[in-house]
């Protein structure tokens, strides 16, 4: 995080969904459309992001209705499960942090916590959780549950996060003892029931079925506005994603988010279209928009690599990180890799990347002790 000791060094995240952020991106990708949905493509994009120097890769999820009759429906591609894409990337990458988006409203918190802990294992401690809360009636219908209206989403998300936090703590770090002398594989005193009760009426018993994740707790990222001030101050999220209508307005939003969640890292969201292949960014965008207009709630940068470098350096003076949503991965990522990230590194704006370091390390978060360890083993200093 931006503290006096680390003046304005930050991290960059890259969203890797589809062929890019623009709905018509698939028309400019360098592969046949169906190849979007295979492992080769997942591997290629995450490796390109890692070698470009991005610190974090995020993987969007959620329902997309393929080829629907809505405007833009003809440009909506299929989407593989985000957590699996991140897991697939785990063993083939070495330093980039892998953060899938996972819904909290129509999913089982017990499954999610196990899946995310497993992602931490297969990535060597480089996993995070981008919390989503679906507002789609179709998602409720798919699993036959009643629709949760907008005012309930924050609570669903907070409950799911709380279950995750408790389950990840439910095995103390040294619960697996493999004690040949007593024949005990685990120390049962170091496993804990989580006994979570939600307002919505479900309960989760625990403990987890997987030992504590490598990071102890995976960092949780949430979009600004999803969680209440109380939930944030109780530590529900480790990072908040901030959007603004224009790049100029980002600074104000960042300041506001920082005030609402002083302990969290602040990550600014930015759509990006760059001059590329002898074509102006505006020209590229117009061409893509002619197929399907790109609607997003994020600030959008359209221009040259040099201008983007300046903008990112200035945003990173107040934000801890920026997440980029390039219009077309195959095109914009190349420009980012060749021009923007090297320039930011030269300026000393980017945090160093160390192979083997965890997501918590990147966020400057210590590895926490299990909450249950504190209860079951009070130390003398607690008196």
């Amino acid at each position: 995080m931006s503290t006096a000791a680390h003046p304005s060094t930050g991290f960059l995240a890259l969203e890797l969904d589809g062929d890019g952020g623009h709905p018509a991106a698939w028309r400019k990708a360098r592969h046949a459309p169906a190849e979007l949905l295979d492992g080769t493509r997942v591997r290629a994009t995450v490796l390109a992001a890692e070698s470009a120097g991005f610190h974090v890769a995020t993987f969007a999820d959620g329902s997309l209705t393929p080829a629907s009759s809505e405007p833009g429906g003809r440009d909506i591609p299929g989407r593989l499960n985000a957590l699996q894409r991140a897991a697939f990337a785990g063993p083939v990458t070495g330093s980039i942090v892998l953060v899938p988006e996972v819904d909290t409203v129509y999913t089982e918190p017990f499954h999610i916590s196990t899946q995310l802990a497993s992602l931490d294992y297969v990535s060597g401690g480089r996993a995070g959780w981008l919390v989503a809360a679906s507002d789609q009636a179709a998602d409720a219908a798919a699993v036959g549950r009643s629709f949760v209206p907008a005012d309930g989403l924050g609570r669903e998300a907070a409950d799911s996060i709380e279950v995750g936090h408790r389950l990840w703590d439910s095995w103390e770090d040294d619960a697996v003892i493999r004690d040949v002398a007593t024949g005990r594989y685990i120390d049962a005193d170091k496993l804990h029931y989580v006994d979570f009760e939600s307002v919505a009426g479900y309960s989760v018993k625990g403990p987890s079925i997987i030992p504590r994740p490598l990071q102890g707790q995976l960092p949780v990222l949430a979009p600004a506005g999803l969680l209440s001030a109380d939930q944030l101050s109780a530590g529900a999220a480790d990072a908040v994603l901030v959007s603004a209508p224009t790049p100029e307005l980002l600074a104000g939003e960042i300041a506001e988010a920082r005030a609402a969640a002083p302990a969290a890292a602040i990550i600014a969201e930015l759509d990006v279209v760059l001059d590329a292949r002898g074509q102006s960014a505006a020209g590229r965008l117009a061409e893509l928009d002619a197929h399907t207009p790109w609607r997003s709630s994020r600030a959008r940068f359209v221009g040259t690599a040099a201008e983007l470098t300046g903008l990112l350096a200035s945003v990173l003076e107040t934000a801890d990180g920026v997440r980029l949503h390039p219009a077309v991965l195959d095109v914009d990522l190349e420009e980012l890799a060749q021009l923007v990230l090297p320039a930011l590194r030269r300026q000393g704006v980017l945090a160093p990347r160390q192979p083997g370091s965890t997501f918590r390390d990147l966020l400057g978060l210590p590895r926490p002790a299990s909450r249950y360890a504190a209860v079951s083993a009070p130390s003398v200093t607690d008196n």
Binding site: L37, G39, G78, L80, A142, W171, G183, Y185, A188, I210
Partner: protein, 474 residues
């Protein structure tokens, strides 16, 4: 001489396949030996999956359990425990393997059909057509305590529910037209409009109203395995499954099971050879028969130590028996009836506990067995274990291939992560010499490697819809 005739038009393939069953939580994996590695580190999974692939194994399986086993009201301390989520681990393994099938054991009671079908499709595409689902039906409220819906299913309904679940999943996988996705970026749409048919299901336990998000994989749809042995389970498999992960590895028993399954399969209107059978098994191998027997004793002593023997009885007695000598007679005190109930997730029937204890005491006394000897005999993996020299075991396995008793074996290695090394280095070549094991992968997908036919869409409704969509595409 064993009667090897199977009947009903069944034709033995003469070949065997191997799978590896990485169980996770279990009492069979030796953890007390210096060679035993981590049960959760990715490197253990990578090592064993890559070794299996070197040995041309058809499949890598992960088991599942959705609540930690308990012993006398607290987590059971003696056995290997703690395992990663199956599909997450398999997605990671998909990136470091190229041919081996990736089988996730996933429960039908504590998952939602649309969500599970979507994730299995996703794994199938990500792995290039190598995914499979081992369908299991655990249904107790004790496990349900970890889920939103809780324990809402009667035991008697487990397969009614599972079948509705599986048929819904198949409809989800069948819902996209072949060739729905654009071939070039200049096409009018990424996927032809209407290429995904909505799937509706209204049932006793859940409703599904879903527009599937993914097209078919290289193997059309995930392969279906079934594990469960009741008559209902067998009929369910005969109607729905591609492969049965069975519990009958002894030759005579395996032949009986094959006959039973062939009969049920034919009765369900499928071909006699349509459902493959791969029993769970354990291999203890060495260069000579004598060494293998010694190895077996060593493995057993690590699997059932004095603490395991006492704990085993405690599960049935429902009380602590720590004061009893593992090398002495069975406890003379009676079981606590109320606590030996099914809700602890172990499936022991409370009311029968006293009866069982009396019976065991009589039997142990009769045979002059100590606690340890009695438990060792009771939990003997004799049923599923193949012990012997490489050539001896290869000869025995060739007989299974010849008779068609099974299509292969699912091996639970007793050592992680090196437990397949001797099998791949010595048993596989011996089987290849006998002409009963593949010398290369038959294809790129699991379906091809198991020799399974491409599924045919069966329900009239979808065929009609296909025609409607065909019209739209023109």
């Amino acid at each position: 001489m064993t009667d090897t005739h199977i009947g009903n038009g069944f034709v033995p393939s003469g070949k065997l396949q191997l799978g590896i069953f990485f169980q996770g939580v279990n009492s069979g994996t030796v953890w007390k030996s210096p060679e035993s590695g981590s049960q959760t580190d990715f490197e253990s999974f990578r090592r064993i999956a890559q070794t299996a692939e070197r040995g041309l194994f058809a499949a890598f399986f992960l088991g599942e359990g959705l609540r930690l086993r308990e012993h006398l009201g607290r987590p059971h301390a003696l056995d290997v425990v703690g395992r990663p989520d199956a599909q997450t681990m398999l997605a990671a393994l998909a990136s470091v393997t190229t041919r081996i099938g990736l089988v996730a054991t996933q429960n039908t009671t504590y998952n939602d059909p649309a969500d599970l079908a979507h994730r299995l499709s996703s794994l199938d595409l990500l792995s290039g057509g190598r995914a499979a689902w081992n369908v299991v039906t655990t249904d107790n409220a004790w496990t349900g305590a970890n889920f939103r819906r809780g324990g809402y299913l009667d035991h008697a309904d487990r397969y009614v529910h599972a079948e509705a679940f599986v048929t819904t999943a198949k409809r989800i996988w069948d819902s996209w037209e072949d060739g729905a996705i654009a071939e070039t970026p200049a096409a009018p749409a990424w996927a032809a409009p209407g290429s995904a048919r909505p799937v509706h299901h209204q049932g006793k336990h859940y409703t599904v109203d879903y527009v599937p998000r993914l097209p078919r994989s290289a193997q059309y749809r995930p392969v279906l395995f079934q594990a469960g042995d009741s008559p209902e389970g067998r009929d369910f498999a005969a109607r729905q499954a591609d492969v049965i992960f069975s519990a009958h590895p002894r030759l005579g028993d395996a032949l009986d099971f094959r006959r039973d399954i062939v009969e049920r399969t034919v009765r369900a209107g499928r071909g006699a050879n349509d459902v493959k059978i791969m029993p769970a098994s354990e291999f203890i191998l060495a260069a000579t028969p004598q060494e293998a027997l010694e190895k077996k004793d060593w493995v057993r002593s690590l699997q059932i130590g004095p603490e395991q023997a006492i704990a085993y009885l405690e599960q049935f007695w429902g009380r602590e028996l720590q004061g009893f000598d593992p090398d002495g007679p069975l406890p003379d005190i009676d079981p606590v009836v109320e606590e030996t109930s099914e809700t602890r997730g172990s499936g022991f029937h409370g009311a029968k506990a006293k009866q069982l204890a009396d019976q065991w005491r009589a039997e142990a006394k009769d045979k002059g067995l100590s606690i340890r000897q009695f438990v060792s005999a009771r939990t003997s993996r004799g049923d599923s274990s193949f012990t012997g020299s490489y050539t001896e075991v290869a000869d025995r396995l060739a007989e299974y291939a010849r008779t068609g008793a099974v299509d292969g074996f699912n091996i639970s290695p007793w050592l992680i992560p090196t437990g397949l090394d001797d099998i791949v280095n010595h048993l596989v070549p011996a089987l290849q010499e006998r002409g009963v094991y593949p010398t290369e992968y038959a294809g790129a997908t699991l379906r091809e490697n198991l020799g399974l036919a491409t599924p045919v869409r069966q329900d009239a409704d979808t065929v009609r819809l296909q025609l409607t969509v065909g019209e739209q595409l023109l």
